[in-house]
Symmetry: C2
Subunit: 183 residues, 2 copies
Amino acid sequence: MKKDMGAKLMVYPTPIYLVATYDGAGKPNVMTVGWGGVCCSNPPCISVSVRKATHTYHALMERKAFTANLPSAGFADEVSYFGKASGKNEDKFEKTGLTPVRSEYVDAPYIEEMSVNLECKIIQIHELGSHIQFIGQIINAKADANLKEGIPIIEQIVPIVYSVGNDHRYYKIGEAIIPKSSE
Amino acid sequence: MKKDMGAKLMVYPTPIYLVATYDGAGKPNVMTVGWGGVCCSNPPCISVSVRKATHTYHALMERKAFTANLPSAGFADEVSYFGKASGKNEDKFEKTGLTPVRSEYVDAPYIEEMSVNLECKIIQIHELGSHIQFIGQIINAKADANLKEGIPIIEQIVPIVYSVGNDHRYYKIGEAIIPKSSE
């Protein structure tokens, strides 16, 4: 038996990207984005959606570039803070002590402390309503040099996912499931 | 220390949607999609990207509608199968015994056995390269009537996420993380 919930974003879970940019003055900024995902294999692209009112929106329009940094579970406090504060009023890097490093590939900083950094050039922009969707082509992916071969990356970086709606919680990734057809 | 990995989709994890459609002949079909995510709050929208070679692509173009069904961990075998087989050659619903039910809101079937069903009307289509991105506005979300109030939905449905790249594994969602600022 089903019940109708109306036009609701009952989407569980969403990934979490820390989207880092330079603003017009060259100041690095970072914002937590849950509205995003992979959208193309070749060229490799991800999408991130933000509201026009955000500081990040203006940086994305100006620089046409960003990095998407994958936070490990140990950075849940920073993830929460980056989603609430605005780069208009605060220097989020200074406040958290995380390190913005200029990408050699795109006009954006990546976050040194995150295990994976996706350096993206914006190739399309779509107005959808409350949110503007930016399609970022991955020009280069950086990974921690000490990630081990032979162990799934997801089990090494322990990324955070997000639960929307009334729940508003972050979760770790749990145990692997091996489908029977793969055994 | 970082190492450059090149233009790779190092995106961990991706969500998993079972995208269900009617084809030109009215036959229900379903495909596992990992290239997707939320992209707008108002109107509530998700994106799904598929290749032109898929049976689902033609159904999406023709019907301008789909449902995105969230699979629980117990359906990992079906998820794996739906990602490998094509609706051109096989009746995936018949083969798995899952139940397609006609949506009252959009021209697509939803999967009765999945806990959450997002009934979507396609409002934008973007050519990105290997994949075409469909923006689906959620007209209605259905949920199992026996989902309990007061317990996070994600902990009741135990959705599957996907790990890309060499790993190609599915994972359960793990424990909740409560950021300090929320305590």
